[in-house]
């Protein structure tokens, strides 16, 4: 046995690269970003401090407000939609159907595609002069209209729909694994008591699946915050600025529009928002556990 202090120091040395990465690459750059957001930096970071004026401009910008609203609409529809659809698919597959693995693969397949591909496919499918609308019209239904992609007030729902199409399969896979873990005895007992199947699902199975739902929600929520590629490929923020999202705002002001100050202000706001959302979860996860373990 090596002396205790040696073991401690060896561990610290082994961890040193990780510590350096955390301190410089994560915390350091976060602090730097926040610092730049208080300057008037354009292409280059400069240290001409201007107080909160970048934040004032940010919240006065219609595009930023629309981006934030879109993120809320997209996030809500996407997460709730994926959970419901994924759960229904999982229940459907859990009925001991034939060729289950074929269906499982089909439903999970979209998740193997990149968001760029998903976006492009849906863009072509929903383009009024190329896709669904034109096809139905060619069949003879001349007045058929489905032009949500080119309508500013509807396009964000199309993006949520495309996202759901992609991610529902993942939720299905997670919940299916959970369903398979439900004790068969429970089902037998429910049958003996004559409880209808849907009530078993709602009152017994769903509570058992809670950890799976939490996992799926966390995965989906991270996808919501960083949504960028789907929007770029599907609408590129259009029509107009009706489908802009915060991540796209940051990237565009960083590079094309050469305004580091405003871009870093926007990313700081994004980070604070995420922290606010995560705080209750972190609290439950790390601070309350020790007590409940006693």
């Amino acid at each position: 046995m090596k002396p205790r202090f040696l073991r401690f120091w060896m561990a610290q040395v082994a961890l040193l690269p990780a510590w350096l990465i955390v301190i410089f690459a994560y915390i350091g750059t976060i602090i730097w970003t926040i610092q730049i957001s208080f300057t008037s930096s354009k292409v280059f970071p400069v240290s001409n401090y201007v107080g909160f004026s970048q934040y004032t401009r940010l919240f006065g910008s219609e595009r930023w407000i629309i981006s934030v609203q879109n993120l809320a609409i997209f996030g809500l529809i996407f997460i709730v939609g994926c959970l419901i659809l994924g759960f229904l698919l999982a229940v459907f597959l859990d009925q001991r159907i034939r060729a289950e693995s074929v269906f499982r693969t089909i439903f999970l397949y979209p998740y193997a595609l990149s968001f760029i591909v998903t976006g492009l496919v849906w863009q072509w499918t929903l383009n009024p002069t190329l896709g669904v609308q034109q096809t139905v019209r060619n069949w003879g239904w001349e007045s058929f209209t489905f032009d949500w992609l080119s309508r500013g007030d509807r396009a964000i729902y199309v993006i949520a729909l495309a996202g759901m199409w992609q991610a529902s399969g993942l939720v299905m896979a997670i919940l299916l694994a959970g369903l398979r873990g439900v004790d068969g005895e429970l089902w037998k007992a429910a049958k003996v008591d004559g409880i209808p199947t849907w009530r078993v699902y709602v009152h017994i199975v769903i509570p058992i699946l809670t950890p799976m739902f939490v996992t799926a929600t966390v995965l989906l929520a991270t996808a919501v915050v960083k949504v960028y590629d789907l929007v770029v490929a599907l609408t590129n923020g259009g029509p107009g600025i009706s489908t802009e999202v915060p991540a796209k705002f940051v990237i565009e002001y960083l590079f094309q529009r050469q305004n580091l100050g405003l871009a870093t202000a926007a990313s700081t706001v994004m980070m604070i928002t995420v922290l606010c959302v995560l705080a209750p979860w972190l609290y439950v996860q790390y601070f309350r556990k020790p007590r409940s373990a006693h």
Binding site: N127, L149, N236, G240
Partner: protein, 411 residues
């Protein structure tokens, strides 16, 4: 601690390697974004001429202007600059000049007499405080109207000369069941259309007051209101498939006879030529409809600061080569643009380019492009409100006018 020192040493070694001489004798690494068929044929002219003059051209083409500019700026800031890099003529490289990261080209300019053959608009665009910081290589113009000659003849329409004639022609096309105006869904093409209307309906003075002087009062004027109204009226002549359509697909609709008109810069000629047609014949062109004013835009090359004597020599040679009369004529014929030198033989350029040159030669016949006058930041903001207005048919012109005035006033 020992590990830390080692790591530091290692990092220093890597930095030293990266910052080492990247340029050998007369070798010039050039970052540009000319990757389409016509564009790469044009840039090959530069490469060939430079190689013939004793240099060695190292091509660093990066698709899309934003990516190329971001890569180039990152390398300059990181201390490993390319020998030369491309920008659009305008304010894009202004910060680099302000930070002292670009080489001053006064020696070459003096030796070659740039003052004598560059138009004042261009000289103003590439100099800062009287010093040259960029080489202009071409003049592109944004305000062209393209039309399908056969389609117009079939519908008994004369090529329009005024906005009223254009609207009458588009009404006829609409009645005939073809798309009157092909428009792309990209925001920059919507801004291009708006600026064409601003120049064509509002005229040169209004354009300069708004973009040159940042005069918010001019934006609130009735003349500007008329511009916005005309632009709003154009919304009725596009089709439903704009979202997701690229500029070349929009031009393609005119080339294939599916649409009558298209507002696009002179680079649209590349699409026309690629389809085996002649600009000015099967596909007609009208420069600056309404008020005959030529919008001057284009590309420049800048030369990042370096202490390396060989790199400096390569930079001087490249700057000289790009502006020789032979290079200018050959390059611009391929690129679809107009030479920056007023003293070269332009008889080989196509009919549309000739029409543009004529305008360029007249007094007050040209204006500096949008990018010359406005920062990328304000261009972005203007792009947002115009895209929003264009795609929201219910939005009132007065609303756009008010938002526009706010942006101009904040500059």
């Amino acid at each position: 601690m020992k590990h830390f020192t080692k790591a530091l040493l290692g990092a220093a070694a890597i930095v030293a390697l990266m910052a080492g001489p990247s340029v050998a004798a007369e070798k010039a690494e050039v970052i540009h974004w000319w990757t389409s068929g016509g564009e790469s044929a044009a840039v090959k002219v530069f490469a060939d001429q430079f190689n013939a003059a004793g240099g060695e051209w190292v091509d660093a083409a990066i698709a899309s202007g934003e990516a190329a500019r971001a890569a180039g700026i990152n390398r300059i800031v990181g201390g490993n600059p390319p020998t030369a890099m491309q920008f659009n003529t305008g304010k894009q490289f202004e910060d680099l000049v302000a930070q002292g990261l670009l080489n001053n080209l006064d020696d070459v300019a003096k030796a070659d007499g740039w003052d004598k053959f560059l138009s004042p608009v261009l000289v103003k665009a590439v100099t800062r405080d009287g010093h040259y910081f960029a080489v202009p290589v071409n003049i592109h113009s944004n305000n062209w109207l393209w039309y399908n000659t056969a389609l117009l003849e079939a519908n008994k329409i004369e090529p329009p000369k005024t906005w009223d004639e254009l609207f009458a022609a588009m009404d006829k096309l609409k009645a005939a069941g073809v798309i009157p105006m092909a428009q792309s869904g990209d925001a920059w093409t919507q801004v291009l259309l708006f600026n064409d209307v601003l120049l064509g309906v509002g005229g040169r003075d209004l354009y300069m007051k708004v973009y040159g002087d940042n005069n918010a009062e001019a934006v609130k004027s009735p003349e500007f209101a008329k511009v916005v109204e005309t632009f709003g009226k154009l919304r009725e002549y596009g089709d439903a498939g704009q979202q997701g359509r690229q500029w070349n697909q929009a031009t393609g609709l005119v080339v294939t006879g599916k649409a009558g008109f298209n507002f696009m810069g002179d680079w649209a000629k590349g699409e026309v030529i690629a389809a085996g047609l002649t600009p000015g014949k099967e596909i007609g062109c009208v420069p600056g409809i309404g008020n005959q004013v030529y919008w001057v835009g284009g590309d420049v090359f800048v030369f990042p600061k370096t202490d390396n004597a060989d790199a400096l020599k390569a930079q001087a040679l490249l700057a000289h080569t790009m502006l020789t009369p032979e290079t200018q004529v050959a390059f611009n014929a391929k690129k679809g643009s107009v030479p920056v030198r007023g003293d070269v033989d332009t008889s080989k350029l196509d009919a549309c380019a000739q029409a543009g040159l004529k305008l360029l030669g007249t007094e007050n016949g040209s204006v500096p492009g949008f990018d010359f006058l406005q920062t990328p930041d304000s261009i972005g903001s203007i792009q947002d409100i115009i895209g929003q207005f264009w795609t929201t048919p219910s939005q009132a012109p007065a609303d756009l006018q008010a938002k526009f005035a706010d942006i101009i006033a904040s500059e």
